[in-house]
Symmetry: C2
Subunit: 318 residues, 2 copies
DNA sequence: CTGTTAGCGCGTTCAT
DNA sequence: ATGAACGCGCTAACAG
């Protein structure tokens, strides 16, 4: 294995000169810097992370924390794309992506604690937002950098990346009412009251008011409830759902009662393979990969008082 | 930060004694070992991974490699559950999960190379199986330990964890023909010819022969093809699909032409929220979390000549 | 059984 | 502008 000593020897300089040259220290003449850097690349020299981290006292790793259970917020391709966006950005900085994931909250917290205490990881990404989250509390207490995916609740002013869900709600509703000429759209959401659902609903309600249509919301609780809801609202002629799965589910139940009708649908995440439904489905792309890369730039931002603590990623309807 | 010197000092012994005691070295008397270990836990001592790794020359991390694109094999909750299974097992061993994920194959390979050269990672999990995969080739060449999720192709005898897909195919087909009393089942697969699809199809064909029914396979190529296929096969009265998405898609197209009919469905992965279809869907659970934990035990197995290089996880139909 | 010493690879004083 | 020497936290070889 090639160490910095080898490079120094081959270059005919001391180790410290080599080290400085490789780190672009201006105290070394530009000429020798270039020379040594060229040599290093030529020889295929790679610095040992463990040694670097040992001296610096900080790991070149970012901890990415998954929610304990995501059976409810089923945005799965979303996570994968997010990871891709995060990691591509981390690689540029010579950083590594470490994940914390577990079924139980206790084990997850233990995981994060080990990353901090033993792994010297000082930067984290939380792929979720929870009320009174022990992981976030721990990170705050230790004054470690972290960014959440999704706007914080509980009134914390953490750094975060999110979509502009209100704007996306407005955009989706306008698209439905304007372009698709729907008269009586229904807003479909899960029974969980997720933050992004509330925000998108607000956008929907605002547009509804503007178009003088009565806002109408259906939570996907039990089957009977939804079926009876549909029965009582025969006027529905279009769907706006908080994600693709909710959209498909409601669409199916609607068609069950009104077989022949045609219902345009707008939903979010762009996360399903085509062919799962015959609905005229317009899924809003939220660009998870961009969210990932924005997360990293926020995570490594200067964090001055003046700096923005949030990034909103725009959406796209097609 | 508490180092091993502090523990040694408080215990009134030398650093090396402390080190040995904490690593349970039998050269230290059991009494002092216990004493020092107790002290360490009491004081909340945590060894620094970077220092350990520097001396050992090997990182306490496992590299988990994602496929470059998974837009085709859409088993997403599958990946998350897999990660959970892997990480839970890694935590027990004081290991950390590092991921390599990227959009391009070149960048992915670069990612893995950095993990090896700079991160000193020596164990990997490949969440996929590809023909002539450069990552796998690199790992083989460097004689590093790795386990793939899915049976290797290309005739390599890598370590792997998989379902017994043939058996699962037989089980699924039997369930359909026997319990659900289907007479003319169709086997639905993607256009990709994945290994697991072929194996499940074999199982299906074997059972079909046994029940004296003509095997019938439909690849989900373009829409027109599938619609025409359905038109030419009005005898179909049940579906066996290689995953839930394929099942739902085919089911939908079938119902389009035969609205009133009832078609039992068997598919795999157990990966969708309920409510997405009105099909009588029996999705085979493949226990991804168990696969994850098996992967780790294989990754850390002794690797003697005699040892098995594979683990098959059983399935369950409900 | 335990302590002393050296060294892992690198960054960084402090000299020169 | 460059080099020598030390230290990060820990393990291991070598004493005793």
């Amino acid at each position: 294995m090639l160490t910095i000593r080898d490079i120094a020897a081959k270059a005919g300089v001391s180790v410290s000169t080599a080290s400085r040259a490789l780190n672009n220290n201006p105290r070394i003449s530009l000429a020798t810097r270039k020379r040594i850097q060229a040599l290093a690349t030529a020889e295929g020299y790679r610095p040992n992370y463990n040694a670097k981290n040992l001296t610096s006292g900080e790991a070149n790793a970012v901890g990415v924390v998954f929610p304990t259970s995501d059976r409810n917020s089923t945005d799965n391709p979303f996570y994968i794309d997010l990871l891709r966006g995060i990691n591509t950005e981390l690689m540029k900085r010579q950083y590594v992506l470490s994940v914390a994931i577990s079924k139980t909250a206790d084990e997850l917290l233990e995981n994060v604690k080990a990353m901090v205490a033993q792994g010297k990881i000082k930067r984290f990404v939380l792929l979720y937002v929870h009320q009174a989250d022990p992981v976030a509390a721990f990170l705050r207490e230790k004054h470690l950098h972290f960014v959440t995916i999704g706007e914080p609740v509980d009134g914390h002013d953490d750094y975060f990346v999110d979509n502009d869900n209100l704007e996306a709600g407005i955009g989706g509703a306008s698209f439905l009412l304007d372009q698709l000429a729907v008269k009586h759209p229904v807003f479909v959401e899960s029974g969980h009251n997720w933050g992004y659902e509330q925000q998108r609903r607000q956008g929907y309600e605002r547009v509804a008011a503007q178009y003088n249509v009565e806002p109408l919301t259906c939570k996907l609780n039990d089957l009977e409830y939804v079926q009876s809801f549909i029965k009582h609202h025969p006027e529905i002629d279009g769907i706006m759902a908080t994600d693709d799965f909710n959209a498909i589910e409601f669409y199916r139940l609607l068609r069950e009662q009104y077989v022949a009708s045609h219902f345009p649908v707008v939903s979010y995440n762009h996360s399903l393979p085509t062919g799962l439904t015959d609905a005229n489905l317009h899924s809003v792309n939220l660009f998870p990969e961009k969210m990932g890369s924005a997360t990293v730039s926020l995570l490594f931002s200067d964090r001055e008082e003046t700096a923005d603590k949030q990034i909103r990623i725009p959406y796209e309807i097609k």
